[in-house]
């Protein structure tokens, strides 16, 4: 079949080129890649190579003509072909759909969407307009372009790939949604029909192949329901709440002294020792009342400021992480908090917490100091707006006054993770500063 010789496009934005000279002429035998003509674009003159080896024929544009790019300018005939073969391709080209429409315009009188006078129903015009279609491109089945013609045009625009592969509609949908080619799937159904499970199987194997991790031997630990819940909630929080984290170092000398004082008293009275966590619950409770935005939750179109202060304390148990809640912590004194905390912690370790013990938290404290961690960032426990991560107390030299005196002090690092949808840096800083002042001057809190 004769090879059409088209005006090449040299530049991204090039629309046309001018033929400067034909170096070969009709009837010349040309080789693939051989320069046949020179053209000029807006920028430069360029030699145009032949697209094929054969006889140059049917030159359609002469020197000096301006030709749009991709337009056929000549044909290259293969051995044994004549210019009659060129006519043959042209007539085939013309029977293609777009041309067809133009032809039918000329040939028949009742299909008459002639330029400038397009017969279309108002609905069809509106639809074409809304879809940004050139209505003259739409060929009607009847005399006028109707709604159905526009719809047909729209559906034909992106022809549906008809596959000869047998598959159920559900399998096709799942494959399409996951960008999987049905040809790569072996169907388990009757006569090899691909069913939904076949596609799902492929999806599973693809996702495990990607990491290669499936090749490594492993033990499988099924998730307990508590693990699943933690996983889902942490995922949700990490995904939905934009976390910011602020860290402070606090001198706990006075706080530790106050705690020792309490514990001496407690020992004499046979009461349990006050833990650092209990002290922090007391101080945090007080600070939350002063900073209500921290004690809140983000909802879709509002922030709920909670009217109670319920502080959860993350607790490690043999079953996993649980967060028992100290309800109304702002109204409790330190020994009430301490004994509540001891009770909750003991029951948590014995797996004896009931639902009420772990519900209704408005803020969480997570303390890993006893495990030797200096500082860490915690993930907010949703729907709460912030969580305080407590590190260990380290004795460190620090400057204690304006005269650069250095003393060794017990220092504690606190990191607040906050939901930035509710809490901005300044609000978080104020809250942390309140905690710092509470820790540094604990006496006024510890009545």
């Amino acid at each position: 079949m004769p090879v059409p010789f088209i005006m090449p496009k040299f530049d991204m934005d090039q629309e046309k080129a001018t033929i400067i000279s034909w170096l070969k002429h009709e009837g010349d035998y040309i080789n693939f890649g051989e320069t046949v003509l020179t053209v000029e674009t807006e920028k430069v003159a360029i030699d145009v190579p032949s697209p094929a080896t054969g006889t140059l024929s049917k030159i359609l544009y002469k020197e000096g003509d301006v030709v749009p790019v991709t337009e056929v300018i000549a044909y290259v005939l293969m051995d044994g072909e004549s210019s009659a073969d060129v006519e043959a391709i042209n007539s085939t080209l013309q029977s293609q759909p777009e041309e067809d429409h133009l032809n039918s315009q000329e040939k028949s009188t009742h299909l008459t969407p002639t330029t400038g006078l397009i017969k279309a129903t108002p609905v069809a015009k509106r639809m074409a307009n809304e879809e940004g279609l050139d209505i003259s491109k739409i060929s009607p089945l009847g005399g006028k372009i109707k709604r159905a013609d526009v719809e047909r045009f729209l559906t034909n625009k992106e022809p549906i790939k008809r596959v000869a592969i047998p598959a159920t509609p559900a399998a096709r949908r799942v494959a399409h949604e996951n960008g999987i080619d049905l040809e790569t799937i072996k169907g388990s159904g009757p006569r090899g029909r691909i069913q939904q499970t076949d596609v799902q199987e492929i999806i599973r194997s693809i996702s495990s192949q990607k990491t290669g991790i499936n090749d490594i031997e492993s033990d499988m630990l099924p998730l307990t329901s508590i693990q699943r819940t933690i996983a889902e909630r942490m995922q949700l929080s990490f995904h939905e709440a934009p976390h910011i984290a602020l860290t402070v170092n606090v001198d706990v000398k006075d706080a530790e002294e106050a705690r020792n004082y309490f514990n001496n008293l407690a020992e004499k009275q046979g009461k349990p020792r006050v833990t650092l966590t209990a002290l922090l619950v007391k101080i945090v409770g007080w600070a939350l009342v002063r900073n209500p935005l921290i004690n809140s939750s983000y909802y879709k179109d509002s922030i709920r400021l909670w009217k109670v202060v319920n502080i959860g304390v993350a607790t490690a148990t043999p079953q996993g992480l649980v967060v028992p809640v100290i309800k109304g912590a702002d109204h409790m004194n330190i020994s009430e908090i301490n004994s509540t905390l001891i009770d909750l912690t003991n029951r948590a370790r014995e797996n004896k917490l009931n639902l009420e013990d772990v519900r209704g938290g408005t803020f969480t404290i997570s303390n890993l100091g006893m495990f030797g961690i200096d500082q860490f960032r915690a993930i907010i426990n949703p729907p709460e707006a912030a969580i305080l991560a407590v590190g260990r107390i380290v004795r460190r030299p620090i400057v204690v006054d304006n005269q650069d005196h250095v003393e060794v002090r017990p220092m504690l690092t606190l990191t607040l993770s906050a939901d930035h949808r509710v809490i901005d840096g300044i609000v978080a800083a104020r809250f942390l500063n309140d905690i710092v002042s509470g820790i540094e001057k604990p006496s006024f809190l510890l009545y």
Partner: protein, 328 residues
């Protein structure tokens, strides 16, 4: 809640509604002294008298024509066609008169009649007394076609049918008459046109009517022990058909089986399947939609052949196994 039979539930609905609304009256062949061919109206003549429990000659056309005439004058007749097969004698009255008068009068009149008609096989009554002709009735816009499968639905739908301003064909099944179930004594209405999911399941949707609902439920119970969860939908009303419930169900289960006793060719299973296949549920279907229906033959007199001519539990079970197992 008291347990009564399907037959008693329908009688209770008729009885209560006749007490409540003096426009309601019964007419039909042998419904008075004899109490009807199945005894459904037994005792009603004594209670309501011959004015309201009217014996008619053996002319179905007359029965329906009389009911239509009475309804035009403000009455609410409940006509009985002794066997559904005989409705064909009254078809002009049902399809050309009752179904169309409201439309052709521009809404100036309504035809609030109920036509009770027991259908179905299983009693050895042969080809002229055993048919399930509900699909024919579904082809006449203007009619409503109601088809309960439980005593509870039967009472609630009968009350709804009598109170409906349109002609309602109330199809009963002979083999269901003795089926017992809990039925409240008080007045309640089950809306016409609302399907009921008789059993929820995730693997396949089975749509069945009247006695086939009960067969499908038995199969579902059996397969459930093997982990195959069958959803059984009883449309309860065939016209108008609650397509939304069916389409939603198939979108969840991905598989559809329709079961009816009526002959397959031209039967309403085709309507359900076409509706689902052309709906949003199509993209969720993981198996071809299928039907199990009565064979395309006159119901045989021979009891063995009679049984073989309509879907049995074994057939339903096999079909579900094939569909759920991806073998069809």
């Amino acid at each position: 809640m008291p347990e009564i039979s399907y037959l008693e539930a329908i009688r209770q609905a008729l009885w209560d509604e006749m007490k409540r609304d003096e426009r309601v009256f019964l007419l039909g062949e042998d419904i008075g002294r004899y109490g009807g061919a199945f005894g459904l109206t037994y005792g009603m003549l004594d209670e309501f008298g011959p004015e309201r429990v009217r014996e008619t000659p053996i002319s179905e056309a007359t029965i329906i024509a009389t009911a239509i005439g009475a309804s035009l004058l403000g009455m609410r007749p409940v006509a009985e066609i002794m066997f559904m097969d005989f409705m064909l004698l009254a078809m002009d009255q049902i399809a050309n008169q009752a179904a169309k008068m409201r439309f052709m009068s521009g809404g100036h009149t309504t035809i609030p009649i109920v036509i009770r008609m027991p259908g179905g096989s299983g009693t050895g009554a042969a080809a002229q007394h055993s048919q399930s002709l509900e699909s024919i009735l579904m082809h006449f816009p203007g009619l409503k076609v109601v088809n309960p499968s439980t005593p509870y639905d039967a009472k609630g739908l009968m009350l709804a049918s009598i109170r409906d301003p349109n002609p309602v064909c109330f199809i009963e099944h002979k083999l269901l008459y003795k089926l017992k179930g809990e039925v409240p004594e008080e007045d309640y209405v089950i809306p016409i046109g609302v399907a009921d999911i008789k059993r929820a399941g995730r693997d396949i949707t089975v749509v069945a009517n009247n006695i086939m609902v009960n067969k499908a439920l038995n199969v579902a119970e059996k397969l459930s022990k093997e982990g195959i969860e069958v959803e059984v939908i009883d449309p309860r009303t065939l016209l108008p058909l609650d397509t939304t419930t069916i389409i939603n169900s198939v979108s969840r289960t991905g598989r559809l089986l329709v079961v009816h006793e009526a002959c397959q060719t031209g039967g309403w299973a085709g309507e359900v399947i076409a509706t689902v296949a052309s709906s949003i549920a199509f993209d969720y279907m993981d198996a071809p939609p299928r039907r199990i229906c009565g064979k395309d033959i006159p119901i045989p007199y021979n009891r063995g052949l009679e049984k073989a001519s309509i879907p049995q539990e074994f057939d339903i079970e096999q079909e579900i196994r094939m569909l759920v197992g991806g073998k069809i």
